[in-house]
């Protein structure tokens, strides 16, 4: 394949670097190197998206050819499907519980690790590990066992199994996500280390205590990082699937209490064989995530502080 074409190019490159090559030629090389990814994006992302958009206007049961039905799927979703609205409410509840909890925990641990002198590497890895493991099905199954009737939590707290109680099951799912706070924690940690020590010294000279320093120095200086984490985790939370799937054994139960949006989407597509309906749901989710992100960006103007703004 391209292996024969690229080496001569590459061999010449260092020598030619000082002289500026014509723009065209450099662009050509860039495209050659990009091609696997561009192809991947087209074949694996754009094409399936286009197909899914088409399917969302059809009745498609996986087995027979899709039948064009116009906006019927969308209409049915909004007007005749109580379970759809239940899944929307469940997902919003989940986002509101999981995201703030996860970010708070990530920030607290990042603050604790920042001041630590020894064993920092160890603790950082230890707290990060769940994020690597957490996405896997096996951990989610362990979670189910822990919170099940007669499981560890039941034995310790005598609360009965959380995953069997409609009022508690969603919390068990949220906790699984909260526990995977490693990624935002590492980003917080990086952000904290960027804050110049002089600011704290200046604040201390002015007589600010720890709490005051946190509110007046740490929070504003960290706000871009906080915003970044908030956007990222919110988008992820809207798409939660694995923990809800595993904890409810693929059913969104008990009594639909863990039937988050993507679970219901999966149910419509793969259990009930309504791929058209599932595709329509996917597009609505995409739009909603887009809107929520836009709203977050808009509100960010009033609370996110960029150090460079001082120059303006």
């Amino acid at each position: 394949m391209t292996t024969t074409a690229i080496p001569p190019e590459a061999r010449r490159a260092p020598a030619a670097a000082p002289k500026r090559r014509p723009r065209r030629e450099r662009e050509g090389a860039a495209w050659v190197f990009l091609s696997p990814w561009v192809l991947g994006a087209i074949v694996l992302t754009l094409l399936p998206m286009a197909v899914s958009l088409y399917l969302s206007f059809t009745d498609y049961d996986l087995f027979n050819p899709p039948k064009w039905v116009g906006v019927r799927n969308y209409a049915q979703m909004f007007t005749e499907d109580p379970r759809y609205w239940r899944s929307v409410v469940t997902t919003l509840t989940y986002v509101v519980i999981a995201v703030p909890l996860q970010l708070a925990l990530a920030l607290v641990v990042a603050l604790a690790l920042k001041g630590m002198k020894r064993g920092k590497g160890f603790y950082r890895s230890a707290f990060y590990a769940p994020s690597l493991l957490g996405a896997s099905m096996s951990i989610a199954l362990v979670w189910r066992a822990v919170f099940n009737d007669g499981g560890t939590v039941d034995n310790l707290l005598g609360t009965g199994g959380w995953v069997n109680k409609p009022g508690w099951a969603l919390l068990a799912v949220a906790l699984l996500t909260v526990w995977q706070f490693g990624a935002p924690m590492v980003i917080f940690l990086a952000g904290l280390q960027q804050i110049p020590a002089e600011l704290y010294e200046a604040a201390a000279v002015d007589g600010a205590g720890k709490g005051r320093q946190f509110l007046s120095v740490t929070v504003p200086m960290l706000s871009p990082v906080l915003f970044f984490n908030l956007v990222l985790q919110t988008i992820q939370a809207f798409q939660v699937f694995t923990p809800a799937f595993a904890v409810s054994a693929g059913k969104g139960g008990p009594a639909d209490s863990t039937l988050v949006y993507t679970m219901y989407l999966y149910d419509r597509g793969f259990v009930a064989s309504h791929m058209g309906y599932a595709s329509a749901m996917a597009w609505v989710l995409l739009l909603v995530i887009g809107v929520v992100t836009a709203v977050l960006f808009r509100t960010s103007r009033s609370w996110v502080f960029y150090a460079s703004e001082g120059d303006r």
Partner: protein, 427 residues
């Protein structure tokens, strides 16, 4: 330069690895090394069924040295979803176990092979014509029934005997059944039965006991929201009294016997199909026996003999002949029948049924005797359910969840279900 050589080497290694990966993704029925034909055979069931199937498959491989069979199984719910996805992706296993509810959808979707094409290697002469016809859609034989099953009340013999409550007789009505469950719960301190409210199958038996059916001849809904309200009110009351399993246990049902209250040792009985009931043996070491399902108040039986499950061959298989040979082996081979016993219901091949009947041992014999005791007393089975039923089975369970967690009244849930069912059957 050495650095450059390394880069070139890496690139070709990567290319090689990619080729290997792509080659590994070949479709089903590819020939593996050694020129052997590889068949994929999947089914749902419990470990007992798996163990026997593995032994039968080993025997088939011995008889057909050119064929290698790879098998896989899972619980019913997971199996249903996985198979649908595979079939839609054109990657259905060569030989697959199918449920009555799947035949219509899979046949009309072009997933299944017309088995008449394989007549020379797949003999059907010894199967009861009526039973064989259940695997036919639009006069094409898409699947072969594997066994005959019926619903049953499986019970923990020792727990029941110890309670002092009289053992179930030859027939009982739903109201006598309910009284017995109350008495069992009182004496044993644990629920008498799995809450049958979540089971579309149990509802069907109850409905048939009143001369009605789940579906009409033309595939519409055969009952009203009022019927379902009465059923769910009946089971909801029993649950509130503690006569049947609480919501927390009922919601964990997933089609496997391991997750039933009887399997977990938290109830005395469980309404189930007779073939999977063999899985209780391992879970209830003190012994399991079978009783008939309750009948209507005037004695009308609701349960029926149903083709327990089918075998179908993928329309896309690369080796239709070998796949058909495997189906033939499972259904018509005497030795295979001895190994498989009644793990998929009583064999459909009449000669084999007559031949191995007396040799059946242990629980297989229990199942055979149970079926014999019902012979001639049951009504005809309903026709194969319409495609939409496949999804409705889980909808039924979810809607009842709302009742058992007291989030909806039986009437609200029933109306919900009927609305959903009508939409599902229309599309």
């Amino acid at each position: 330069m050495p650095g450059h050589r390394t880069k070139g080497f890496c690139a070709s290694a990567a290319a090689l690895a990619l080729c290997a990966v792509l080659a590994g993704c070949g479709g089903s029925g590819e020939s593996a090394g050694g020129g052997k034909v590889v068949l994929r055979y999947t089914w749902w069931g419990n470990p007992d069924r798996a163990e026997r199937t593995e032994r039968a498959v080993a025997l088939f491989e011995k008889q057909h040295p050119n064929v290698d069979v790879t098998t896989s199984f899972s619980g019913y719910d997971a199996y249903k979803q996985k198979l649908a996805t595979q079939a839609a992706g054109g990657d259905a296993p060569d030989v697959m176990q199918l449920d009555y509810r799947q035949i219509d959808q899979y046949a009309s979707g072009g997933v299944l092979l017309d088995l008449a094409e394989q007549k020379p290697v797949l003999r059907t002469g010894e199967i009861d014509p009526g039973l064989l016809a259940t695997g036919r859609v639009d006069d094409v034989q898409y699947a072969i029934p594997q066994g005959r099953g019926t619903e049953t009340v499986a019970y923990d013999v020792q727990a029941w005997k110890k309670s002092g409550v009289p053992l179930p007789g030859k027939s009982w009505t739903w109201s006598r059944w309910a009284d017995t469950m109350r008495a069992l719960a009182k004496k044993t301190g644990k629920p008498g039965a799995t809450d049958p409210g979540q089971s579309e199958d149990a509802f069907e038996v109850w409905l048939r006991g009143q001369g009605k059916a789940l579906y009409t001849k033309d595939g519409g809904l055969g009952f009203t929201a009022g019927d379902l309200t009465r059923w769910w009110t009946f089971t909801d009351t029993l649950r509130r009294e503690g006569a049947v399993s609480p919501a927390e246990q009922t919601t964990q049902l997933d089609g496997s016997v391991e997750n039933t209250p009887l399997g977990r040792g938290t109830a005395v009985t469980d309404a189930n199909w007779d073939a999977p009931a063999s899985g209780f043996i391992a879970l209830v070491p003190t012994g399991v026996a079978l009783a008939p399902m309750p009948s209507g108040e005037d004695g009308t039986p609701g349960q029926y003999f149903k083709p327990s499950m089918f075998l179908g061959v993928s329309a896309d298989t690369g080796h239709p002949k070998e796949a058909a040979q495997l189906v033939d082996f499972v259904i018509n081979d005497r030795e295979a029948a001895t190994i498989l016993g009644a793990s998929r219901g009583i064999p459909v091949n009449e000669t084999i049924r007559a031949g191995i009947g007396p040799q059946l041992k242990d629980f297989d014999k229990t199942i055979a005797d149970f079926q014999a005791s019902l012979e001639g007393t049951l009504k005809d089975p309903p026709q194969a359910p319409p495609s939409g039923d496949n999804a409705l089975q889980s909808t039924f369970q979810r809607d009842y969840d709302q009742v058992s967690y007291a989030r909806m009244s039986p009437r609200e849930a029933a109306e919900n279900y009927v609305t959903e069912a009508k939409a599902e059957l229309r599309s």
